[in-house]
């Protein structure tokens, strides 16, 4: 479990991070969202023990980043937004070097390297030189490096930056798999729709302050007082609109065109089911009924002012 407690970082007169707090459980994939300069990287570098917090702390499975950084380092894998790979070494040598640094026993190293290469789909490149890999492969090698010591927390700073769509999709799947393996993953990214796909929790940061933090749906719900339902039906007439307007929990109805109604609804799924039943029972031919998907981008734009770029 990761507990971030009132983490703060000041550089001279500049406060980069202003007392951030959040908790994450094993299996959580936390999307860290913010504009350039918002404080994401500073926060990640503090959690990774690269920067000393001005105040506050973070505790990973009982180990405090301020008082027991070595123990924290054994449990975390850090992938910055640059590759920082050595040239003139082969893929397996590179991983072997980091496995040795992380005190993976020499007898287990070959197996561990094979495992992480398989997980990151780099087995065929085991004996290739690092500099000969494509950008996507180098990114996956970076991730493989983070995994050689089986960390419990992964800090991925802009992992998808500069990758082509296929490499992004592969990386996304890989991160989701790491979450399923029970690791805590913190991912910072600007590509919000992608984060929404695989993150179960997000934190939105601006000017060093955490504006919102929690499950994606909960944050969206928190921002929208009402749920938006989309109802598609056969036969264009205004009767359905009048019928729906009179139903419980309906706050507003609008014809969206193309046989679709946009309904502002202020209750839960049970009441949505009742609404659907009543529409069908009234004889309207419903062919589609759905709640509008949570849009992280909307939430981000609504919460942030874009003051820092």
């Amino acid at each position: 479990m990761l507990e971030v407690k009132n983490l703060r970082k000041e550089y001279g007169g500049l406060t980069a991070v202003r007392g951030i707090s959040f908790n994450l459980q094993p299996g959580d994939i936390f999307g860290f969202i913010g504009s350039n300069g918002a404080g994401k990287t500073t926060t990640i570098r503090m959690i990774s023990t690269l920067l000393e917090p001005t105040s506050g702390t973070a505790v990973l499975n009982g180990a405090d980043i301020r008082h027991d950084p070595m123990q924290v380092r054994r449990m975390l894998g850090y992938m910055p937004d640059f590759f920082g790979l050595y040239d003139d070494v082969k893929v397996w040598e590179y991983l072997d070097f980091f496995a040795a640094i992380y005190q993976v026993p020499a007898r287990q190293r070959t197996q561990v390297i094979d495992n992480v290469l398989e997980l990151t789909d780099l087995t065929v490149k085991k004996t290739a030189f690092v500099q000969s890999l494509s950008r996507g492969m180098q990114q996956r090698l970076c991730l493989a490096r983070c995994l050689v010591h089986d960390p419990q927390l992964l800090l991925l700073d802009e992992p998808a930056s500069g990758l082509d769509p296929r490499a992004r999709a592969e990386l996304k799947e890989l991160i989701a798999e790491l979450g399923r393996m029970g690791k805590i993953v913190i991912v910072s990214s600007h590509i919000l729709p992608e984060l929404a796909d695989f993150c179960n929790t997000v934190g939105i940061i601006e000017k060093g302050e955490l504006l919102a933090c929690g499950p994606v749906g909960q944050i969206v719900q928190g921002l929208h007082a009402v749920r938006i339902l989309r109802v598609r039906f056969l036969g264009a007439n205004g009767d359905l609109r009048h019928f729906v307007e009179g139903r419980p929990h309906v706050k507003g109805v609008e014809l969206a065109g193309d046989g679709e109604l946009r309904v502002d609804f202020d209750s839960d799924e049970n009441d949505q089911a009742d609404l659907l039943k009543s529409i069908v029972d009234a004889g309207f031919k419903v062919i589609g009924f759905r709640e509008e998907e949570a849009d992280l981008e909307d939430v981000f734009l609504k919460l942030t002012t874009g003051a820092v770029q």
């Binding site: 690269l50 000393e52 640059f82 050595y86 003139d88 992380y102």
Partner: protein
């Protein structure tokens, strides 16, 4: 060992560029040439002269290997990966030096063969410069040879540790290399010229002023072989103060380097400006 592997691949790799092949071929050729020369003129091949050559090599090998060891890590931004690993700064620094130390010891081991030939067959009754002398005893000759070898190796360590320090304190690897080479030129060439120009005649004053100079120390050991003094204890001490000093310098440079890395926030100033916070 990754540092050694990378250095080997960069300059001595056979599967790489043509330049690497040329370097490998030339190194082999020079080594075989030295062996052939020493064997042919084995009675005249003073092994201490080979240690001069070895010391010159070590003066270049340490900086060549380590100038980018920390500055280069920062440049390619792989430094963070070491800092987040469960190793202390002291371990990182000493690990870097061990890479160069391994190369220095390997180089010394390779040169041990021609030095050994010289040690076995060299006719000690005449000096390198042709002036006849009584020569020293076999034991003292071997002792002095061992001292010379240790002076050379400890000098190599000290230069490597100094390079590491400059690599830690400079933003760019080539700046560190330039600085170290400039210091070497100043200390090994310019300084003796200045002393010579100042016409320092007293041997004590010369000894003090040249104390750190490895080639001067080797010359003293060589002269002890060809002109043994009455004072045996003093003769045996040639090179020992320098060895101790070089090892001390190595430790001081390592400590200083480690102190340089201790400022975690200070690392930020070495990194290129990052658009994110």
């Amino acid at each position: 060992m990754v540092e050694v592997t990378r250095f080997r691949r960069k300059f001595f790799g056979t599967g790489g560029s043509a330049v690497n092949g040329v370097i490998v071929a030339m190194s082999l050729l020079i080594y075989i040439g030295i062996l052939a020369l020493v064997w042919t003129y084995r009675q005249d091949a003073n092994p201490i002269l080979l240690i001069y050559l070895q010391t010159f090599l070590f003066t270049l090998l340490g900086p060549a290997m380590l100038h980018s060891s920390i500055a280069g890590e920062r440049e390619r931004r792989s430094w963070d990966f070491l800092l987040v690993a469960p190793v202390t700064h002291g371990q990182i620094v000493s690990g870097k030096l061990m890479g160069a130390a391994a190369a220095i010891l390997a180089c010394a081991a390779v040169l041990l063969l021609p030095i050994g030939i010289g040690a076995l067959f060299y006719d000690r009754s005449h000096s390198y410069f042709g002036a006849s002398s009584n020569g020293t005893s076999s034991f003292m000759f071997l002792w002095n040879l061992a001292m010379a070898e240790l002076v050379s190796i400890s000098w190599g360590f000290a230069v490597s540790a100094m390079t590491l320090l400059f690599s830690a304190r400079c933003k760019r690897g080539f700046v560190a290399l330039g600085t170290v080479l400039a210091i070497m030129v100043a200390a090994l060439i310019v300084w003796p010229i200045l002393i010579s120009a100042a016409e320092v005649r007293s041997s004590e004053a010369g000894g003090i002023l040249n104390f750190f100079h490895p080639f001067w120390t080797l010359a003293q050991i060589e002269s002890a072989n060809t002109s043994p003094s009455e004072d045996i204890l003093w003769e045996r001490m040639y090179g020992v103060p320098q060895i101790v000093t070089y090892i001390g310098m190595t430790l001081i440079f390592l400590y200083w380097t480690e102190k340089t890395l201790r400022f975690a926030d200070g690392e930020v100033k070495f990194l290129p400006k990052h658009k994110d916070a």
